[in-house]
Symmetry: D2
Subunit: 149 residues, 4 copies
């Protein structure tokens, strides 16, 4: 599990006075910094090797300016060329602000091609599969056959 | 269905040279402008009556600076106090860039309380349930019991 | 003079409920799109040939969500390798929201080197030196010897 | 002098691969957090008492993703209802990335009125007028009568 403390910026808040829903994905992105380094030790953007396939976030409690938040990041599913990164955002009292999931794919930007994950990478990913205690489940995304509440 | 043309800004692109994954949610937000107006005809931020509960985006094809994109927005599920807004982003040739879903909840910001949707609002929502032709399905979000590929 | 209409996005507004001061520079950047094209007709970010040296903005009247704004962009000073781009932001009634200046430099990103402006570019720049009518002057930036009011 | 360390976010970088020019003002804003607190000890956005009148930034050296930067913030001019906040951004080796100035005005958001600075505030401002060592001067902004180089 990766633990990342993030200062909430003034500009992260929108006209509602709390952090805008899109900015949670920026927080998730900062939580993945170490993961990016596993793929690109130089952190040179020209050598990037992952691309985002899918993102999801459940909003639990609003985040306000000046608050200190912590993003917890861990790995769940590991597949041939993709893997799921789980995120949870906590406040200073251990309260949960949000719960998310981002699917990343191994990717060659020059050839614009999906690339299978190497065994070395899979080994590192497997070492980061521990979730934080009491973390809430992702809400089930409703599928067409679940339209009735 | 609501159709919104959005100019891609220079700053929407991140170090990879294409639109950052979080910015798609900003595009979705712009696609919901008319919906916000249904709830708050004055568009005064102090009279806002909806809050974001959940967001999801599948990334299909990258978006580049200078491209013209169109966000299609329509309603799927309508529940007692929440409803699902569906989004799809298309390029100039009808190609699909992304597919998303945002769950909004009726909300009283002063009392910090969920509020049921009025019948008038539900009527308007029901009139906007037509999806664009050939729009792709949302990818199923993998649940814990689907970890095997 | 270049005229650019820009939709104010929901997320452009910060916790004060109006457009954040940094976002004005994003509006200025969008106003320069045609200028970027003069230097890089393909608009390919890998062939970019200008870099920002200096930016300035005077804020005259706040901008609110949902407003339609127009950025006026024109050239003032043209030097050997740099030039000043002037900006003014107007509201729908011809009211002035802001007045700015951005100094751009010809630049080779691979060699990280300043490059003199070509005669062709200077010719184009000279054709865009007309300012909008009644545009306000930039406020003088106070220099150390002007500290007394 | 106020010293603020700021983590450079992935999304702060634009398509050029370095921090976008507008984001420097977001860094300056974060450098002013303590100043905001002098005016609004609760940090409640509804009790905000300053507004931005003018901003300026000279770009000295690009900032890249993953770098650690420090924003130095101090006060220069103090006038009846406004004051100048000076900023400088340094890299890990004491190298200078940028130099800026932001003019703030005492402001009553409800009445939309300029408000003189109180003596208490002026006292605090006067205690923060020390600049960092060797900080570069602001480049002179060219005025119409200085158009010849």
């Amino acid at each position: 599990m990766i633990t990342t403390k993030i200062p909430v910026r003034f500009v992260d808040c929108d006209g509602m006075g709390h952090v805008n829903n899109a900015v949670y994905y920026t927080y998730f992105e900062e939580g993945k910094r170490e993961i990016f380094r596993w793929f690109t030790p130089s952190m040179n953007l020209k050598d990037w090797r992952v691309i985002v396939a899918s993102t999801h976030c459940d909003y639990i409690q609003e985040i306000n300016y000046g608050e200190e938040i912590t993003v917890y990041t861990w790995i769940s599913t590991i597949s041939r060329s993709s893997f799921d990164v789980e995120h949870a955002i906590a406040g200073p009292n251990g309260n949960w602000h949000a719960r998310g999931r981002v699917t990343l794919i191994g990717y060659n930007y020059e050839r614009k091609q999906v690339v299978p994950l190497s065994e070395e990478i899979k080994d590192i990913l497997r070492q980061h599969q521990d979730a934080p205690r009491n973390v809430p489940e992702l809400r089930k995304i409703r599928m067409p056959d679940q339209l009735e509440e």
